[in-house]
């Protein structure tokens, strides 16, 4: 992973991961998320990365004071957020599983 924002993953972005450069928590979050997504093997799931050190607009736009933070914006426009370096595997799996249910998608 590099420090650039990943905006090249297409228009069907489901998830946004807010990080702050190469801080240890950010690095861990990227790695943990990549592993989890790979395990799910759902090609409909796309991830966009926003580095707040490079682009602070995400703080105002999404109210992201804490990082790392994984966001999914529901169809209704309501966000659901999982803070942290995503090191708690069961919590991350629960979050990703909820994305696939019709109620929360």
């Amino acid at each position: 992973m590099n420090g650039k924002n990943d905006r090249e993953t297409g228009t069907n972005t489901d998830l946004i991961l807010f990080v702050t450069g190469d801080s240890p928590r950010s690095l861990r979050a990227r790695a943990n998320l990549a592993t989890a997504v790979e395990d799910i093997a759902d090609n409909r799931l796309t991830v966009r990365h926003i580095d707040l050190l490079q682009d602070t607009s995400g703080v105002a736009e999404y109210g992201m004071f804490a990082t790392p933070a994984l966001i999914h914006v529901r169809a209704s426009g309501e966000p659901t957020v999982l803070y942290g370096d995503l090191s708690n595997g069961p919590e991350l799996e629960r979050f990703l599983a909820n994305l696939q249910s019709p109620e929360t998608a």
Partner: protein, 493 residues
């Protein structure tokens, strides 16, 4: 306040509230908001970073120590950039009914301000305390905090800022000549007078009289009434000849009404403080100050009264307080407001019932720095104003009202009779003296006459004696001429 913030370019508001269903998976930090803050505060050379309700976010941190580390990181980050950091967060209750997400945070910050709320008399009381202010002297007491349309106030901390006015030697009148006389010439300017009594004893009347006298001297008077509306005060005063309207129209008298029960004691204090600041009165009337007891407060209303008086004394404002007495202890004359110890002068009003009448009595309980009368007077209210009358002691009772008037008439009649009798006795004496003098003159004349008679008698006796002697000599001569002589030319008898 809100519009001023909205219109200002010097601040930015960001909504960083976590969604309701937000969760955490591992540790996180606040570097995102710091990046934003650095971007916005860049070039300002300082500024404020305010994170309101930071506990909401940090409560998601699974490790409490990591949450504290975030606060420390925030603090260090701001200090390095000369940015003032203000964090707000909830504190747990002593019973543990609320979670404490920032336990221990006070040890790492230089200043900790504790806000609390308490329901008193079903009214919300806000409290403020400086729990920590590293390197600075500060008040450690918990203080009331009031929030109103004008912002946040710490009423009692502001009260001590006024410079103290020196004690005055000038005496001023209270609008009742005889009352001023028995006070030794009036009350001292800048002093505090307490007028206590049961309902209806004319406390307000004395307050109005005091206010009117001050306005007549050209002084500014602020009259604060808790029991009555201002127009009723004006109307009722006019019924006893005290016309307030001209003083109001001239701008010298301002009457403000407040409902005691409708605000916290601290809110009353702030309002009074504001009115004093705005009107700059020479004299103040609070009628009655005991009404503050009806207002809810976690603090004592007595302390509020004391703080008000501290303020008026410091500013040199002559203050008259009226207060209800504690009817449960009428014999002690204790006031509900407990203001008697604070006042320089204390005028007690009471009812005296005698002969089927209820009359008002006035006495001076104390007047610091004055040789005042200790006599009870009757307070008279009439269409021509307020006055005092002497009372008559009748055995153990004090006569007032009709009994006093009857006694006055009896005394006057007694005095009249005594005068008439004395005048008659005087005239009798003068007549007797005149008669005596006449008798003396007659006696003198008689004495003179008798003296003359005596003199004549004496002269008559002398003449008789002389004549007798001459007669004897004549006889002897004649005898000698008729008989033989034994001598040369006379014979022996």
């Amino acid at each position: 306040m809100g519009k001023a913030l909205t219109d200002s370019d010097a601040w930015a508001l960001l909504d960083g509230r976590p969604p309701i269903d937000a969760a955490a998976s591992g540790g996180f930090d606040l570097d995102g908001v710091l990046a934003m803050a650095e971007h916005r505060l860049e070039g300002l050379g300082g500024g404020w970073l305010i994170l309101d309700g930071i506990d909401q976010l940090l409560s998601l941190e699974p490790d409490p120590r990591a949450a504290l580390d975030q606060v420390r990181h925030l603090n260090d980050w701001c200090q390095a950039r000369r940015i003032t950091l203000l964090l707000t967060g909830k504190q747990t209750r002593s019973d543990g009914s609320q979670p404490l997400d920032l336990e221990g945070v006070e040890f790492m910050l230089s200043t900790v301000l504790v806000l609390a709320t308490e329901l008193v008399g079903r009214r919300l009381n806000r409290r403020f305390r400086v729990a920590k202010y590293r390197g600075s002297a500060h008040i450690t007491d918990e203080l009331p905090l009031v929030m109103d349309d004008a912002g946040l106030h710490l009423p009692y901390s502001a009260a001590s800022e006024a410079a103290r006015t020196a004690a005055s030697q000038e005496r001023i009148g209270m609008g009742i000549l005889r009352l001023d006389r028995i006070l030794g010439g009036g009350i001292y300017r800048g002093s505090t007078v307490l007028v206590s009594g049961a309902p209806g004893t004319a406390k307000t009347t004395l307050g109005v009289s005091f206010a009117l006298a001050a306005a007549d001297r050209g002084e500014r008077v602020l009259y604060l009434t808790f029991d009555e509306l201002d127009d009723r005060i004006v109307r009722n005063a006019a019924s006893i000849g005290l016309r307030l309207q001209p003083a109001i129209d001239s701008g010298l008298l301002k009457i403000e009404s407040r409902q005691a029960w409708n605000s916290l004691v601290e809110e009353h204090f702030i309002t009074i403080h504001r009115w004093i600041d705005a009107f700059q009165p020479d004299c103040l009337v609070i009628d009655p100050v005991s009404a503050l007891l009806k207002a809810a407060s976690a603090d004592s209303a007595y302390m509020t009264t004391e703080r008000i008086l501290d303020e008026t004394r410091a500013r040199g404002i002559t203050t008259l307080l009226t207060s209800l007495i504690d009817t449960d202890k009428p014999q002690t004359e204790t006031t509900l407001s407990h203001a008697s110890t604070l006042a320089d002068s204390w005028i007690s009003l009471e009812y005296r019932i005698h002969g089927g009448e209820r009359n008002r009595a006035l006495s001076i309980v104390k007047s610091r720095g004055s040789a005042h009368s200790n006599q009870v007077r009757e307070l008279l209210l009439s269409g021509s104003g307020v006055d005092l009358a002497d009372v008559y002691e009748y055995g153990p009772k004090v006569l007032m009202g009709t009994a006093r008037i009857e006694e006055e008439h009896e005394v006057a009649e007694r005095h009249r009779r005594q005068y008439v009798e004395r005048a008659q006795r005087q005239r009798d004496l003068e007549r007797n003296i005149q008669q005596a003098r006449l008798r003396m003159e007659e006696a003198q004349s008689e004495a003179e006459r008798l003296t003359e008679v005596l003199e004549r008698e004496r002269q008559g006796n002398a003449e008789t004696k002389h004549n007798a002697a001459e007669h004897r000599q004549d006889i002897q001569r004649r005898r000698a001429a008729d008989g033989p002589t034994t001598g040369k030319d006379r014979g022996t008898e």
